[in-house]
Symmetry: C2
Subunit: 324 residues, 2 copies
Amino acid sequence: MGSYEELISYFEDQLSKQAFGYQPGELYAPINYTIRLGGKRIRPILTLISCELFGGKKEEALSQAIAIELFHNFTLIHDDIMDNAPIRRGEETVFKKWNANIAILSGDTLFALAYQYAQQARIDILPETLSVFSKTAIEVCEGQQFDLNYENSNNVSVEAYIEMIRLKTAVLFGASLKIGALVGGAKIEDANSLYDFGINIGLGFQLKDDLLDTFGDEEVFGKKTGGDIISNKKTFLYLKALELADDQTKAELIELYNTNKLSDQDKTQRVKEIFTELGVDQSANSLIDTYYMEGMKKLDTISISEASKDILRDVAHRMIDREK
Amino acid sequence: MGSYEELISYFEDQLSKQAFGYQPGELYAPINYTIRLGGKRIRPILTLISCELFGGKKEEALSQAIAIELFHNFTLIHDDIMDNAPIRRGEETVFKKWNANIAILSGDTLFALAYQYAQQARIDILPETLSVFSKTAIEVCEGQQFDLNYENSNNVSVEAYIEMIRLKTAVLFGASLKIGALVGGAKIEDANSLYDFGINIGLGFQLKDDLLDTFGDEEVFGKKTGGDIISNKKTFLYLKALELADDQTKAELIELYNTNKLSDQDKTQRVKEIFTELGVDQSANSLIDTYYMEGMKKLDTISISEASKDILRDVAHRMIDREK
């Protein structure tokens, strides 16, 4: 089986050969723009890897890998409208470069294109893979809605946050692995265990994202840290800090997130001080470890070789022990 | 087989028994609101009818009929954002009643829910019905994009307009019939002929919509006429008028649609006068007849009884010879 890097290069190559429609250009230019912008391609690679782990060929899982990558890109286009985000992957977002209507409609089209790939699964697994795909799509929307709700709420628990990132982020990792496994010929029990592995690693992945955005090394991270703090994003770090802080610090933190008294730099510095004093970076790391261990336990139950499990352990490390 | 009215009542009853999710409420309340608002339910009824015409039971086509109705409602939610439309079916649109973000996201969810029903087709026809469903979804998006493009263009031909309404409106009628036929056990050739029948009737349906919006009897139509004129919509009537008018009238018409010199009432009255002088209402009626006849020709090629064809002829009449 190919290395992670070989699979990425295979996937990029195949993706670049796909034609995603032509006319009207206003609809397809943003789709091609978004897909060509790149990204880590983690999700489709998970699909290819898990197919191969169960004895399938990567080519057999390609349509499913593309389906998942297109779906992911569709969610980014729509999320960027909702979050009013001007930049994605260092370039203008679709709704900024074109407009909101075009972003809505090219997103919708991309969603349907994703299904055109998803429905190419082998007939004996088609109902099951489609069922995973649609259930996941709905859950990702639910996660995004919870995320929007929490923006305007001062009463979000850490537990609710974890459930939100499970829906918004982790389920798609689980689905990528499960669908790949089904294509590869996995028994449903193994595919489900791999799904659970993906959920745990996905939760760890998002918590690591929260950590890097605040405490990352800017040179390695490749962009300025503190973005979540400046935009008052209620990440794990913030919510855990509210949970652990005394009344005075809690009041200060809430004020920092609800007023604009300090400059971005001063605000970021003060919030990071509070986070560090309360040790929420440690809490995050410890929770990431918990999810990692939980994921490993799920892996133990799957009937594949130790060498294959090592490949998945490597994937888990890439997703969690990253610095960017 | 049941009458049209019996099928509507069966469908409404079954639709009302479906649960479309619960949490978060911000996501599912707009979905349930939209579906309960009603509408003519023409598309799902076409699916049920065409299933029965080929010997299937309406119950077998229910999931496909629901899929199509959910998809149609999804497009309405997103179209209303793009068109900045405050009212739909006499009630506030989702984006007005809630907000644009909720309308985007509840629309996305509804699209995925539609697929959850679409993927319940019998395994032997699943690849074909899904293929029709996704292709249609993409074409409807393309049609909407052309519609948006034409809003800001002064150079739209009647031909381009017809292609736009084919994509935006007619293909979904074709798909509704074709998918129902496949569920009912139709040969692919018959299903395709029924699709073509649907396209023609769908084109007639939309042209009739254009006519009623301008020349309808307000009491029967149930709302004020002239809406398309007031909102400067480039309907068949307008585009055909530009095609037929002398230079002076053409300039007047373009000015009427590009400035706000006259009151809504005076503008509507003057535009209607021009339309009537040029006879574009007659042109529309004559084109509707052409599409109707074309649809009937397609019907002739299908291997079902004359009694069954009468049912489809009745459907065509309902869609085209309506006053509201």
